[in-house]
């Protein structure tokens, strides 16, 4: 027994020496915590973050929950704080849950900020926004009206009922419809959680229950394939058009088949890049200016000092014609 212990101790001492050598580099660390790992959207953000880390000379940590559970996300953020990572960005699953960790981060002098999904009143350092919620909500309604006219019934299929970014977009869609297109009828949003199957089922039911439905909006990127599949299965290509916030790679085949008319999004890789850049600025103690020059960005990035929002740019509309120019 004693011999075993001695052996174990020797091995641990050795690996300790090796690991300390490996960890000896002293670059500032920037972390990003997505809402969910293993989906193309956040993978693209990770790729952008890695590129930024290499170019800006920081270490990038990417870690997130396996399902959209706010407590799991909180635990990951708390552990990054305990590790002493210099700057932590979070795509917030639930705005109210982030408050305790913001306090913990402040106590340790760690810059905690949000990216992709915000928690406005939490005391975060900055919010790196992909596009304004208003811009996204309005764009999808405006583009839809161009295609189906003002007098139409439109279904909404969202992801988690608690995701604050998705709910904000839906809110602006409803506002835009009420203000600009009074004849437009938006159905109550349906929530599919994180799976495409459930989204397909919900969309199928929506079309069966509302034969006069003209369009379905897939709000979460995970619901896009489900909505498109349901339109294809129901043989309603041409009479019902899908639209949503999903990446060109997700929507490419549906855009070409006609099940989807268009999708609205931004480039998540650029967003990941900007997130890490913002983390580096915060660590260096540099203030954001009204217009910031970021390496690799064609247009300067605007900063709204009153709301604390760093904005990637206006949303992009992808259609069958331009989708092949993008790869994410």
């Amino acid at each position: 027994m004693l011999k075993h212990i001695r052996k174990a101790l020797a091995i641990s001492a050795l690996s300790l020496a090796v690991s300390t050598a490996a960890f000896a580099q002293d670059k500032p660390k920037v972390a990003f915590v997505p809402q969910l790992i293993g989906i193309p959207y956040f993978n693209a953000m990770e790729a952008g973050g890695n590129r930024a880390a290499k170019e800006l000379g920081v270490d990038f940590i990417y870690s997130g929950p396996v399902d959209t559970n706010p407590v799991d996300q909180l635990q990951i953020v708390q552990n990054l704080i305990d590790q002493g990572v210099n700057a932590i960005s979070v795509s917030v699953l639930d705005a109210s849950s982030i408050a305790p960790v913001v306090e913990a981060a402040k106590a340790k002098g760690i810059k905690l900020f949000t990216s992709d999904s915000d928690a406005p009143d939490s005391g975060r350092a900055v919010y790196v926004a992909q596009a304004t919620d208003e811009g996204l909500g309005n764009t999808i309604i405006d583009e839809l009206v161009k295609r189906v006219g003002e007098d139409a019934k439109i279904g909404i299929v969202s992801g988690e009922a608690t995701a604050s970014n998705l709910n904000a977009w839906i809110g602006f869609m409803q506002k835009q419809a009420a203000a600009k297109y009074p004849k437009l009828k938006l159905l109550e949003p349906q929530y599919a959680g994180g799976t495409a199957e459930r989204a397909a089922q919900i969309s199928g039911d929506l079309m069966a229950a509302n034969p006069d439905i003209k369009a379905i909006i897939a709000v979460a990127s995970t619901t896009c394939p489900g909505v498109a599949q349901a339109i294809e299965t129901a043989g309603k290509i041409g009479s019902v058009i899908g639209a949503g916030y999903c990446s060109p790679n997700t929507a490419r085949s549906y855009l070409k088949s006609g099940a989807f008319g268009f999708t609205v999004l931004w480039d998540p890789a650029q967003l990941g890049y900007l997130t890490v850049w913002a983390g580096k600025q915060l660590i260096d103690g540099k203030a954001f200016e009204a217009e910031n020059k970021v390496p690799g960005f064609d247009n300067p990035v605007t900063y709204d000092a009153t709301k604390g929002i760093l904005l990637l740019g206006p949303p992009a509309v992808f259609t069958a014609e331009n989708v092949d120019k993008f790869d994410f």
């Binding site: 870690s63 396996v66 559970n69 635990q75 708390q78 109210s96 849950s97 608690t162």
Partner: protein
């Protein structure tokens, strides 16, 4: 080595869990010495509190046998938190929020108990049903939105830390486990629970009021879930309709890992406590090492299979 081989049942499980826990700590110590700070201990205990309470409820329900299981615990946590917050919005004075959560939990648990004992529905099916009813109701009542407005005096308790130990853990989790341990080990009540789990027929023949006891145990599981809901409110500062997500399976894992026999009648609360600590420490450790979270799910599963296998083998050695 021989001494370990002679251990059986709860003692073996406890030894095994302790050993695994030490291994996790040692590996962490080697790979990342910076982990060891008071902050990490606080983090582990903070994230253990809710799981520990719910797992205890799960454990006593399983322990009492009759194919007992409570799959609705996550739903009870979500719905009790929401019920408490909504009651306050409807004019309940804020100092009554804690009892409101616990009473809501007790009522939901008692409903499970009635389904199982009075209507003789199989616990797996009854609580699967109520799981969907409770968690669905929590979402429906709120439209998925978080309910803010937890009174600030409650936050002081929920977020407080006393010499490195989170106050809710100190004031609720520890006393509850101590009481449960004492009741199970040294009172007639505890003996009844083991007896009815071990052999329900004999328990009935010697006059133990099995159905009444079981009804009370389901209600107690509800009370513990209600307490967990209260802690979630006090800690996070808002009531969230999906706060109990995944708790049913995590609590079941903790109870099984802690040596509670799925058929009832065997196991102790010490094992459950140790299992919760091991699970949360492991999760924290893997997070600190920045191991991909996808792997963590698999590792917890493998751990469960390993411990149950060890338990099984130890019975064959007899």
């Amino acid at each position: 080595m021989n001494r370990i081989r002679k251990l059986q049942g709860p003692a073996l499980i406890l030894a095994l869990l302790a050993l695994l826990w030490i291994i996790v700590i040692l590996v962490l110590l080697v790979l990342k010495p910076s982990v060891f700070s008071l902050g990490t201990v606080t983090t582990i205990l903070q994230f253990s509190t809710i799981l520990a309470l719910v797992a205890l409820g799960q454990a006593i329900v399983i322990l009492a046998g009759g194919a007992g299981i409570d799959l609705s615990v996550g739903g009870i946590v979500s719905l009790s938190a929401i019920a408490g917050m909504l009651a306050m919005k409807l004019g309940l004075p804020s100092f009554l929020l804690p009892p409101a959560c616990i009473i809501a939990g007790a009522a939901l648990g008692a409903f499970n108990g009635v389904l199982v004992t009075k209507l003789s529905i199989l616990p797996l099916i009854a609580t699967l049903g109520t799981f969907f009813v409770y968690s669905g109701l929590a979402l429906a009542l709120t439209g998925g939105a978080a309910q803010s407005g937890v009174p600030s005096w409650l936050l002081i308790w929920g977020r407080g830390v006393f010499s490195g130990i989170p106050v809710p853990f100190l004031t609720i989790a520890i006393p509850v486990f101590a009481i449960a341990g004492i009741v199970l080990m040294w009172t007639a009540w505890g003996r009844w629970i083991y007896a009815m789990g071990f052999n329900e027929r004999s328990a009935r023949l010697v006059g133990i009021p099995v159905d009444r006891a079981r009804l009370i145990l389901y209600s107690l599981s509800g009370v513990l879930s209600g307490a967990a809901a209260l802690i979630s409110l006090a800690w996070l500062g808002s009531g969230r309709p999906n706060i109990g997500q995944n708790l049913e399976l995590e609590s079941l894992t903790a109870a099984m890992l802690g040596g509670i026999a799925i058929l009832g009648g065997r196991g102790g609360v010490g094992g459950v406590f140790a299992a919760v600590m091991l699970l949360v420490t492991l999760k924290t450790g893997l997070l600190q090492l920045n191991v991909n979270t996808v792997w963590q799910v698999g590792i917890v599963g493998a751990l469960l299979v390993f411990v149950l296998l060890a338990d099984r083998l130890s019975q064959n050695w007899r």
